[in-house]
Amino acid sequence: MLIDALSINTCILSPEAIEELNKIRILVVGVGGLGGFVAQGLVRLGAQNITVIDGDVFSDTNLNRQFFCNSETMGRQKAVVAVEEMLKVYPQGNYKAITEFITDKNAALIMKDYDIVFDCGDNIKLKLLLEDFCIKLGIPLIHAGVNANYGQLAIIENKKILPSLYRREAKNRNAVILPQVTSGLQLNLFVQYLHKKHKKNKLYLIDLDAMQISDINY
């Protein structure tokens, strides 16, 4: 049972962090390349309260990289499939699916019920909207963006960075490796956040081609 296996996580989680994992309300926005890995990773870390939101359905172009996409889930709502699979790992989990896209009309109403948000979205408009509402509502945002062999991530708390990053159209075409690496780093930032060890205003830049993670203090 997962509840027994979770004791192994004490190799990276303090008792206080585990207690926080039982309470913290997490919203994962987008259950595609990043979000699929993030959602299943959160379950295996022991997070009890997770909502995934995505208005999209799985299609054949998702097969190369999206964790919950396979021949049986094709055409189904991504958020619903994600929660079904998460509950297979931990049936007692409080996991919910929202089959809508976040817009400026519903963002405040949806996001106000969460303590932390994962930005796993795949478009600039959504990413800017999440940063905007998270800062307004005082909710930390674990941002990430990926393209081919490079990407970036950061915990955004009260200082905006995304309007500077996305002044122009940014590239977005992905295989499986970078989303998997980046979502792992998003989860690592989350674990650092639980231990209050995360670095503020730091942008991490991933370069798989060079096997490097660099950072900029912004």
């Binding site: 390349g33 500077s164 940014a170 989303p179 081609d209 060079a210 900029i216």
Partner: protein
Amino acid sequence: MITVSLYGLYRLKATDAKYEFEGAKDVKHLLTMVEQASGIPYKELKQAVIFVNGSPIDQLDMFSTKLHGGEVISIVSPASGG
């Protein structure tokens, strides 16, 4: 000395990931030096997200941002996929 680091697409396109320059008076001037050293056209470099000591240039004076020596410049290609 001004240190310039290239990330993402720009690192892939350049001959090196890091350069050092002397005498650039502003970001525009620096980009012409980066063009010569890296082989990346100036027009393309202008599309990048550029940080001067951690501040994005759109929060400074864009390409007219003055440089005095000692700055750390990061030239970044952000990604938007999820």
